[in-house]
């Protein structure tokens, strides 16, 4: 609650500083605005920057470091026998303390030492909040007065404000890089911890996957087996089925819409196809699990086939439908980019339209189409909700599409949803799977984007 107050006070002060700076500048010009180097608004912004940015930085640092400092302070006050515990137990203890302090748990059944710690926790947090409030308030006021002092007709406020603006722009543009670094580091860091417990050879080449077996603590990583081959195979199977559905339908629709369709039909059909891409994947998952899978199972039963109700086929087909618009819209762009001269040349030789498409346009557009298919594959591999809802949970090394298989994303979700301990091989395995997923999709995307870009350059 207190942090909201700080922000409101800060915003109010900043606005006040802005108004004051602007008015001061107008006054300093003595009625001749042309005397000012910068427009009054820049003087106002200059004061506002002084008022807000240092305070925001401090708040940011505070938010990051506060939990750590408060935890250390509270733990150091605990009785000695409680302090000599493992890190995991201490974390659990701190959780109790925090919950009691927040009033989430009744204090009746708690350990008295924990209750004392909870009181101490609230006290320290309160002190920290007050200290932060006072510090920020002072900093903002000092910034404000400092900023105002600089205002003078010849003061180059605009140059300085624009410089700060430029720095902000540069910071914003590096966030994407920071995100990538964050992803790579967090995945690699946790994966290394996983590979300390399970060798990479076992992970990448083992045929047995049953992480849930490890129930007792001394059993972790010794009995639970982490051979990921069945998962990779399952992912490949479902993605393959999805591609069998998506590539012909997507490509043929692209060809039809780009080459044959009347412009009115195209204007209606294309946005409708794109709707398929806009529907949330959880909806596809629901449809796959509750409609397509039972339908396939029942119709398989009529034909004498035994189709599992979590068959790879159901998940794959529905995923294929989801991917159709990706392939069709990308291929459509690629096909329309083929120069008209190539079509004309082919017609001139007496080829029919379909012969032109099959022998001239598609070969010319092939790199772009391959790129779009690669992007679609990477989408299929990384797709989560459809398979979580419609595919199986148990790892099953099979190429039979009627059986239930599991995928990388399904395993990540099942390993990480629910209660988790952060040092068990089970949860860390999810990060190793995540790293594999990230690496594979990154390669596919990289190649696909390169191919598409090269192709575009060729005809532009």
């Amino acid at each position: 609650m207190q942090s909201y107050t700080i922000f409101i006070v800060l915003i109010a002060l900043t606005f006040f500083g802005f108004r004051m700076g602007r008015n001061r500048a107008v006054k300093a010009s003595e009625g001749h605005l042309s005397k000012l180097h910068s427009l009054p608004i820049y003087h106002g912004l200059y004061v506002a920057i002084w008022c807000s940015i240092p305070s925001l930085l401090i708040i940011f640092i505070w938010i990051i470091s506060e939990p750590l400092i408060v935890t250390t302070l509270v733990l150091s006050e605990l009785p000695v026998e409680l302090q000599n515990q493992s890190q995991a137990q201490l974390n659990l203890l701190m959780n109790d303390v925090r919950n009691i302090a927040a009033g989430n748990i009744g204090i009746s059944e708690a350990d008295p030492a924990v209750i004392i710690a909870a009181e101490r926790y609230s006290a320290v947090s309160r002190t920290s909040g007050t200290a932060q409030f006072i510090l920020i308030l002072n900093l903002a006021i000092v910034g404000l007065t400092l900023g105002i002092k600089y205002i003078a007709p010849h003061f180059r406020a605009r140059i300085l404000v624009e410089r700060v603006g430029m720095i902000l722009l540069i910071i914003a543009s590096t966030i994407a890089i920071l995100t990538t670094i964050g992803i790579v580091l967090s995945l690699i860091f946790e994966s290394i911890r996983f590979f300390e417990k399970v060798t990479p050879i076992e992970f990448f080449f083992g045929l047995e996957w049953s992480p849930q077996i490890a129930l007792r603590e001394d059993q972790v990583a010794s009995d639970g087996s982490f051979g990921a081959v069945p998962i990779f195979a399952g992912t490949a199977l479902i993605s393959f089925i999805a591609m069998i559905v998506a590539v012909p339908i997507g490509l043929m629709s692209a060809v039809y819409l780009a080459e044959y369709a009347h412009s009115k039909f195209r204007a209606i059909a294309k946005p409708l196809l794109e709707i398929l891409a806009g529907i949330p994947t959880v909806v596809y998952g629901f449809f796959a699990a509750l409609t397509v899978a039972p339908f396939l199972r029942d119709s398989g039963g009529l034909l004498g086939l035994s189709i599992s109700s979590e068959s790879a086929l159901a998940a794959g087909v529905v995923m294929g439908i989801m991917i159709i618009p990706f392939i069709s819209s990308l291929s459509d762009d690629v096909i329309t980019a083929v120069p008209q001269a190539m079509r004309d040349g082919s017609y001139g030789l007496g080829a029919t339209k379909s012969e032109t498409i099959l022998r001239v346009i598609l070969p010319a557009a092939l790199p772009g189409i391959v790129g779009s298919v690669l992007l679609a594959v990477s989408r299929a591999i990384g797709e989560t909700m459809i398979v979580v809802m419609a595919a199986g949970l148990s790892a099953n090394l099979t190429a039979n599409p009627f059986e239930a298989v599991t995928t990388v994303t399904v395993q990540i979700v099942t390993l990480l949803v629910g209660d988790q301990e952060f040092d068990s091989a089970k949860t860390l395995a999810a990060f190793a799977l995540g790293l594999t997923l990230f690496a594979i999709t990154l390669c596919l995307n990289f190649i696909a984007l390169r191919v598409v870009q090269k192709y575009r350059e060729k005809y532009e």
Partner: protein
């Protein structure tokens, strides 16, 4: 050699012409076939769309109606508040279930066996005592009075009333037995059953009882999450786009950023969830299941979309605008803030809304940061535990209760309704304000 080519090229001999003519029919047939395949592909894709949406609407439209039972309830003071203090604690702790049971017993005096009675009590929703508590809380003067009240029916009776149960099937294969059906018929003939608009679905949080469950908690959770996402991704996305499009020098660093943004746009969403789990939850210790963290994760995910859309919008502003502004003495920053960015704003907003719509439908990364908990309360602030609409769909779809199927479909309808609104807004923005130079 040369002669023959020239000859056949200019004046095809009768023989060649015959070969071509003989093949023509086949080639035209192939042409028609090919065209048909294309049309079939488009139709197949559209048919899938129609089947899926039709199926969901068919399954879900009944959830907007809720069956109710009219009961004469005597608000017995001895049961609710024997001491007459009327304080919050007593009112909340009272056994409202007994009032309903008494009323049901009065309605069906013939039901005597213990087992039958228990079945009888299950005609009304397990959450109905709470409905009574709400009424008494609002108006304590009810105590001591008798009033006829419409109470939500239990899920099975609800399905029965909507015709979802085939009464001709043998009793053991049905979810409701003959006795329950006879009670239901009895009530219906007495005019004590009605089907009303299901307001609870829009005003309640999640519940284990399908007839008490609503989407409000999830909708508010989604709105809070989206607000955080927008607050973070819009300013940073637009600023990054402005830098890359207007100021960045053509060098290696800029190239790296560009490649990086394009790749980030295609990273599977679940990987962002792993990032959120490892960095925001475990490293920074932010609260689990909170819209704050969900919004941060989704912001990182939508950032590339917004950057790419904003760059396209900035690029479409013709250079003459920039040159004119520079010509009258604006600084490069002023050119952007006063001229280029406002002109590009419709395009930027369109891209942002589309990015937001995608974030609204996203659920995989939110599973990673614990937004899948069963949460009854409607979240009040971005740090309260919450869930979002698509995750609510996932949770209900997993539920074994049959009555949740129609609610899941109804939640999907609500979700798609939001998405349609957002996309329409984007469309209108694009058509109304986007300039074509």
């Amino acid at each position: 050699m040369n002669d023959t080519i020239m000859d056949s090229g200019l004046r095809p001999s009768r023989e060649t012409a015959n070969i071509v003519r003989r093949g023509l029919k086949k080639r035209y047939a192939a042409e028609q076939r090919f065209k048909l395949y294309g049309l079939l592909a488009v139709c197949a894709a559209l048919a899938f769309l129609v089947i899926m949406l039709g199926n969901i609407i068919y399954k879900g439209h009944t959830a907007f109606i809720q069956t109710e039972v009219k009961l004469e309830i005597y608000f017995d003071e001895d049961v609710i508040d024997p001491t007459g203090k009327r304080d919050e604690q007593t009112l909340r702790g009272a056994d409202y279930g007994r009032l309903i049971k008494t009323s049901l017993r009065k309605q069906f005096p013939n039901v005597q066996k213990r087992r039958d009675k228990r079945k009888l009590y299950r005609i009304v929703s397990a959450g109905s005592p709470f409905e009574l508590y709400r009424m008494v809380q609002k108006d304590p003067s009810l105590i001591g009075k008798t009033q006829a009240i419409w109470i939500s029916a239990a899920a099975n009776i609800d399905i029965l009333n909507k015709g979802g149960i085939d009464t001709t099937r043998p009793e053991t294969e049905r979810r409701v037995n003959n006795k329950e059906i006879s009670w239901y018929e009895n009530l219906r003939e007495a005019g004590l059953i009605r089907a009303d608009f299901n307001t609870r679905f829009f005003t309640a949080g999640d519940s284990r009882d399908p007839e008490q469950a609503g989407v409000l908690g999830a909708v508010i959770g989604s709105l809070l999450t989206l607000a955080i996402t927008l607050l973070l991704s819009f300013p940073f996305g637009v600023m990054a786009a402005i830098y890359l499009e207007e100021f960045a020098p053509q060098n290696r660093w800029t190239d790296i950023i560009e490649v990086n943004i394009n790749n980030l746009a295609a990273v599977p969403s679940i990987v962002f969830g792993l990032l959120g789990l490892a960095v925001f939850l475990n490293f920074f210790g932010l609260p689990r299941s909170a819209p704050l963290v969900g919004g941060m994760v989704l912001a990182l995910m939508t950032l590339p979309t917004i950057i790419i859309a904003s760059r396209a919008a900035l690029k479409s502003v013709p250079p003459s605008i920039r040159e004119a502004a520079l010509g009258v003495g604006a600084s490069r920053m002023q050119v952007v803030t006063d001229h280029v960015a406002p002109l590009a704003m419709p395009g930027i907003l369109t891209g942002t809304i589309i990015g937001m719509a995608r974030a609204l439908g996203e659920s995989a990364p939110l599973l990673m940061i614990g937004m899948v908990a069963f949460i009854v309360d409607v979240p009040q602030s971005p740090t309260d535990p919450a869930t979002v609409l698509p995750v609510q769909v996932y949770l209900w779809a997993d539920s074994p209760e049959r009555a949740f199927v129609e609610r899941t479909s109804a939640a999907i309808i609500v979700l798609i309704g939001f998405l349609v609104c957002m996309n329409l807004t984007a469309q209108i923005l694009r058509q109304k304000f986007e300039k074509h130079w």
